[in-house]
Symmetry: none
Subunit: 229 residues, 2 copies
């Protein structure tokens, strides 16, 4: 049973290239030429991943992301051009999972799709993580490193929780600020940086070279680890 991928782009050339590359790779591919087309194709095709161009006439990628997210958690990989940085962030805020900037290489696209598929595979339990000698339990709210219990403050835990419950997903500054500090903390990225730093010190096997909390410059952060036993 091969994985199903819905490709949404208004440029004929790109649709053809992506379809060819993905089919060659063994995926089951459907294409849509605009937003409306995408939404109806989504219903009948039930894809495992959506590759979505942002810049389209009519219902654009932002709007498609918004509508899909109101009832589906299908992984969404967003395509944008370098000039549309703001749109990219907006799509991620609305729940897109990752992005690629045009032009991009096919190997990179494939790698990102694999990552998204891997993330949605059933795993033993999305409630515990193990990395090096660090062990995290989301239900007990415990973090141990090498057996010793680490103490996380309320805010640190809230941040860790927000990250770890969305493994692999790129979370924007704005999204994290809202998730941890609630309304009214707008775009105060400084505070976020301070707590990311503190959290890394307590949770990363090697805080100087983060392997768990990955920074995505100009956009946000990403929890890199898949849950484990």
């Amino acid at each position: 049973m091969s994985d199903r991928i819905l490709v949404v782009d208004d440029e004929e050339q790109i649709r053809r290239a992506l379809r060819r590359a993905l089919v060659a790779r063994g995926y089951d591919v459907e294409v849509a030429v605009d937003g409306e087309d995408a939404l109806s194709a989504f219903g009948t095709f039930a894809p495992d991943v959506v590759v979505l161009d942002l810049n389209m006439p009519g219902i654009d990628g932002i709007e498609v992301t918004h509508r899909l997210r109101s009832w589906s958690s299908v992984p969404i990989l967003v395509l944008s051009v370098r000039e549309d940085e703001a749109d990219k962030v907006r799509a991620l805020d609305l729940g897109a999972d990752d992005y690629l900037t045009k032009p991009f290489g096919v190997p990179e696209l494939l790698a990102r799709i694999r990552a998204l598929l891997r993330r949605s595979e059933p795993s033993p339990a999305h409630t515990r993580f193990a990395v090096g000698d660090v062990l995290i339990d989301l239900t007990d709210r415990t973090v141990r490193r090498g057996g010793a219990a680490m103490h996380l403050t309320k805010t640190e835990w809230s941040l860790l929780d927000a990250l770890a419950r969305n493994p692999g997903k790129l979370l924007t500054h704005g999204w994290l600020l809202h998730a941890v500090w609630g309304e009214g903390y707008g775009e105060d990225v400084e505070v976020l940086r301070v707590f990311i730093s503190q959290l890394r010190r307590k949770v990363e096997p090697d805080p100087a070279h983060p392997s768990l909390i990955i920074t995505e410059a100009g956009v946000g952060y990403r929890w890199a680890q898949a849950p484990a036993g």
Copy 2:
């Protein structure tokens, strides 16, 4: 014998999707459309896990959690939307075990249900603790330090019991207040502090430097010791 799951949600679409996914996975599933329905279904169906939407008309998820917890310890998995952060926290305070934010993926739901089932497997019923020269037995309701029996009042016992039966787990102020004082004591953390202090004096090897009852500032307390003997 398959595990029994009660799904409570007022949206027809979600009920159907969850039922299908869970039945396909081999679970025995019953659905309820609102709070009242859920409470009566709980009595006849006796589920091993409850999946409970928070936002419902009439008796909502918070209230259902509250009522279930007054006489059952069935694992409760709460579903909420990201905007209802406060409701989520309240449900956890009242005894819900985990939460998922809508929209979520089916694999993630399955993983969390498995985690809850695993967690509720027959616990060793360990009810004895030894730390330093202090010996605690929850079944006999005795505490000895260096051979001498200590006397605990009713409330102190209740608090000790609530803590020690959840070793390692962070228990919020709200949860503890509800567990020990029942309804109506809302968020009166002051009382809790007084009794924690008294309990420490009787139970901690060195009350000035707690090793058993760990305080989590702004959140709650945690019983740090694993059961022994």
